[in-house]
């Protein structure tokens, strides 16, 4: 059978964490790219806004958590479904070169953007060579 082209996948084991809300949990799809100064993480989390995303940093594990409240009218019947509303959760291990005090996050149109600045010491530097 052809694999359906789903945009989000349910979490197999939601980030090794016991949950207190009886909701579906999805693993958001992410893009991660690196520039000279930072590492940028973009996560597709449709339905979340800046108030419903939590980002936690514990040691070197960055956990993103998004909650989505069901939209629409509860009395409506679901007649066709390709997705379902649910929470988002995913954890990332950060490399040591990240400056943990300089993490910025924004949410726009259901996409979370986390900018992780590289620590000064790990940035590429030119080493001056002294004459002997």
């Amino acid at each position: 059978m052809k694999e359906p082209n789903l945009q989000k996948q349910t979490a197999s084991n939601p980030a090794e964490m016991e949950r207190t809300r009886n909701r579906k949990v999805y693993v958001p799809r992410v893009d991660i790219y690196e520039t000279k100064e930072s590492i940028v993480l973009l996560a597709d989390m449709p339905g979340v806004d800046e108030g419903s995303v939590d980002i936690m940093l514990e040691k070197n594990v960055l956990t993103i958590n998004g909650t989505v409240e069901p939209v629409g009218f509860p009395e409506h019947n679901l007649v066709y479904a390709e997705y379902d509303t649910g929470d988002y959760q995913r954890a990332f291990t950060l490399p040591e070169e990240i400056d943990q005090n300089k993490i910025e996050a924004t949410v726009k149109n259901g996409v979370l953007r986390v900018v992780l600045q590289k620590a000064e010491k790990s940035k590429a530097r030119k080493i001056a060579i002294k004459a002997a």
Binding site: M1, K2, E3, P4, N5, L6, Q7, K8, R29, V30, D31, I32, Y33, E34, T35, K36, I39, V40, L42, D44, M45, P46, G47, V48, D49, V71, G72, F73, E75, H76, N77, L78, V79, Y80, A81, E82, Y83, D84, V107, K108, N109, G110, V111
Partner: protein, 168 residues
């Protein structure tokens, strides 16, 4: 050999070989079975709102459709897009949703570690039942989720009339 006929036909060709149509006892049942297997294995045929072709990795919005007494509501997940990137066309019997999710490239010298999100243009046609009031359709975009509300026509709500049964 016989089991082969029950397997899905990859090329859409009839699976019953010519010359065997005259076998009477179970041929009708067998054809029906073949059709069910074909539909099942070609998974996408089952989708009531088929997506226009395109590679599997291309962006393809997920839809949910909910129905209430007064309206039909269509939800589409379009993360990273805004109302300018999406076009909605309401035709007589269908709703067309199309747009493009662009790959955001910012500055030079960046290297990607992971690309899981998908990009590209999409085009989806959602067939509508006849009882929709086309003039009262509304669409809203919030946090990457598009909501299209399609109210039902007045007369459609009171469909279904009870017929009294008289005793002879």
């Amino acid at each position: 050999m016989a089991i082969r006929r029950f397997l899905p036909s990859l090329w859409g060709a009839p699976t019953v070989p010519a010359g065997q149509e005259s076998v009477p006892p179970f041929s009708a049942l067998q054809q029906e079975m073949n059709r069910i297997f074909d539909d099942f294995f070609q998974g996408t045929n089952l989708s009531p709102f088929p997506a226009a072709g395109g590679p599997a990795w291309a962006f393809h919005p997920s839809l949910d459709v909910k129905e209430g007494e007064k309206e039909i509501v269509i939800y589409a997940e379009l993360p990273g897009m805004d109302e300018k990137d999406v076009e909605l066309l309401l035709e007589e019997s269908s709703l067309v949703l199309k747009g493009e999710k662009k790959f955001e490239k910012e500055d030079k010298g960046e290297g990607y570690h992971t690309i899981e999100r998908s990009y590209g243009s999409f085009h989806r046609v959602i067939p509508l039942p006849r009882e929709i009031d086309l003039n009262k359709a509304q669409a809203r975009f919030k946090n990457g989720v598009l909501t299209v509300t399609l109210p039902k026509l007045e007369q459609a709500k009171e469909k279904g009339k009870k017929i009294p049964i008289q005793s002879a």
